[in-house]
Amino acid sequence: MGRAVPSSRVLRPASALAGGLALVLAGCGPSSYQYNWNILVDSVIRPDGQILSGIWLTLSISIVSQIIGIVLGVFGALGKMSRIAPIRWIANVYIWFFRGTPLLVQITFIFFGLGVTRIYQWPPINLLGVSIPGSIQAGIFALGLNEGAYMSEIVRAGILSIDPGQLEAAKSLGMTYGKAMRRIILPQAARVIVPPLGNEFNNMLKTTSLLVIISVPELYVTFSRKNASGPTVFHPFELFLAAAVWYLVLTTIWGVIQAYIERRLAKGVAGTPATGGVSLRERLFGGRRPEGAPQGSGGR
C-alpha cells in the first residue's frame, strides 16, 4: 500500500454515513424509554433463582447435546468411510438431512411433529429422582442429532489428517481396525478435532436459545419471560443485555477450558516439550525444537 490515502476519500463516505445515521435516529424521535440499570446490574451480579436455573439448563443441555453429537460424529465419520456400502448410505443420508434442514425445523418437527402424531409423545422421564420434561428431552435429541451431522465431517477430517502409515503400523502389529481406531488413530485425530469442536460447543451454548420455540426455560427464555411479565416487564434493553453478558460468561469460560485441553493433547507434537504443553509464548513466537530432534527429514 505504501502511499497515504487522501483523507477526503476516507472521510467523505464516513461522514456521509454518520450523517445518514443521525437523520434516521432523529426520525425516530426522542425515546421515552426509561432505563432501569438496576435490572442489568442485579441480573448479572445477583442473579435470582430463575436466572440461575436458566443458566444451568443452558449449560447442561449444551453439554449433553454436544456429547451426543461427538458420539454420533464418530459413528457418522466411520460410517461415511466404511467399506460396506449400505452403512455409507445411511451415514450420508443422515449427514445430508441434518445439515440440509434448519435446526428450528428439526426442533419443532421432533417435538410437535412426533408428539401430535403420537409417534412419540415425549413423556417426562425420571432420572435419579429428577423429572425431565419432554420438551427438554426433545430439545437435547434435536440438538444432538443436528450436532452429530456437523461433528461427522469434523471427525472425518481429523481421521483423514492422520498419516495412513499409522493405521498400517497398527495393523501390522495385529490390531483390528476398531482397536487401531480407538488406540492409535482417534487419539491423534483428537488434536485436529478439538479446535473446531471448541467452535461447535461455543455455538451450541448459544444455539440452545432456539429451544424457545418449544418453551424450554433455558437462559434466553428466562430473560424473555422476565421481559414479558413481572416487576421487570418491558425492559428489553437491560434484560437482553444481561442475557448477552451471561452467554459471554459461558463462552469465555469454555474458551479457557478449550485452551487447556489443546495443551494437554499437544504431547508428542513437534516443538512441544514432552511433559508440558505449548506456552503462549511458544505459540506466538514458534516453538523450540527439543535437543536431538530430527531436522526436517524423517517422518512421524
Binding site: 499409522q166 503400523a169 481396525y177 488434536r191 517422518g299
Partner: protein
C-alpha cells in the same frame, strides 16, 4: 556407534518357535493396482532362520511384495503361506476368499514389520510404542509388558530414551524403537521395507547394527534394501526384482561376483 546387545532375542525369550521349516511360501503372486500389473507371478520361499535381501529398481514391486506377505496389500492371484498358514485368505471350494479381519489380525501377530518412514505412534513414548501391542493385542499385563519393553529397548541401546516421544528422537533412534516395537510381539518373521532409506547417512549404521544382530541370532527376515554391505555380511540369499518379477536369485557371492542377468549387472553397477 551404538552398542547392540549380543543377546537381542533373549529379551523376548529367545528365538520365537516356528511351526514350519518354511516360514514364507509365496506362490505365483499377482497384484494389480487398477490397470497397473505390479506383481507378475512372484514366487519365493524363505526357510526358518534365513535372511533374504530383496533388491531392484524403484517400481519393481519389491515393497509391494513384502506388503503382500502380511496382507497390507490384497493379491489377485496366487497364495502366500507364513508358518504354514494361508495369509489373508481362506480356501473355499478351491477358491480364495478374503479372510475375516479378526483372523488376518491374528496372523499378523507373527509377522513383524519395519517401515521406511518408521510410523511410530507420535502420541506415545518410545516405551509405550513398544508395549502397546503386547498389552492391547496379546493382552499381557502392563508391568510385564513394561519389563519386556525395557529389556528390548536396552538391547537396541535406547533404555535411556524410553520416556521420549518419537519427535524427540533422531531418525536412527526412531527406527530402532520401531524394530523394538515389532520384536515385542515375538514374531516368527520380520519384514523390513527399506528401513534405512529415510535416514541421514550417519544414522544408517546404528539401524543396520540392530538388524545384523537379529540376523546373527537367527531371526527369519525379508529385507528390502540397497545396503549392499549389509547384504554381503548377513544375507543368505539375495533376490533381484524387476518389473514385477523375480529376475535373479542367489547367494551374495553370486550377485557380487557373477550376476547372470544383464539387468542385474546394470543395476548393481549403479548402486555399488
Amino acid at each position: 556407534m551404538v552398542k547392540v546387545g549380543d543377546d537381542l532375542l533373549a529379551a523376548i525369550g529367545g528365538l520365537p518357535a516356528a511351526t514350519s521349516p518354511l516360514v514364507v511360501e509365496a506362490e505365483g503372486i499377482h497384484k494389480w493396482f487398477g490397470r497397473q500389473h505390479a506383481l507378475k507371478g512372484v514366487s519365493l520361499t524363505v526357510r526358518r532362520q534365513e535372511v533374504v535381501v530383496v533388491i531392484g529398481p524403484s517400481g519393481s514391486g519389491k515393497t509391494t511384495f513384502i506388503r503382500c506377505v502380511n496382507h497390507l496389500e490384497k493379491i489377485e492371484e496366487g497364495r502366500i503361506k507364513v508358518n504354514g498358514h494361508l495369509i489373508g485368505y481362506q480356501e473355499v471350494d478351491g477358491r480364495l476368499k478374503e479372510d475375516r479381519e479378526k483372523n488376518i489380525a491374528l496372523q499378523r501377530r507373527e509377522i513383524g514389520m519395519v517401515f521406511q518412514r518408521f510410523n511410530l505412534f507420535p502420541h506415545k513414548t518410545a516405551l509405550e510404542n513398544v508395549t502397546e501391542a503386547p498389552i492391547q493385542v496379546r493382552g499381557i499385563r502392563e508391568d510385564e509388558a513394561k519389563a519386556l519393553g525395557m529389556a528390548i529397548l536396552a538391547r537396541v541401546g535406547l533404555a535411556h530414551r524410553a520416556d521420549a516421544y518419537p519427535v524427540q528422537l533422531s531418525g536412527g533412534q526412531q527406527q530402532r524403537v520401531a524394530i523394538a516395537r515389532a520384536l515385542a510381539m515375538k514374531p516368527a518373521l520380520m519384514l523390513f521395507d527399506e528401513p534405512t532409506s529415510a535416514l541421514d547417512p550417519e544414522m544408517i549404521g546404528e539401524v543396520l547394527e540392530v538388524m545384523k544382530e537379529l540376523a546373527r541370532e537367527g531371526m527369519t527376515m525379508i529385507v528390502v534394501s540397497h545396503e549392499m554391505g549389509f547384504a554381503r555380511e548377513v544375507a543368505d540369499r539375495m533376490v533381484m526384482m524387476d518389473d514385477g518379477r523375480i529376475l535373479e536369485e542367489g547367494t551374495p557371492e553370486h550377485f557380487f561376483e557373477n550376476p547372470q542377468q544383464e539387468r542385474t549387472q546394470a543395476f548393481l553397477s549403479k548402486i555399488l
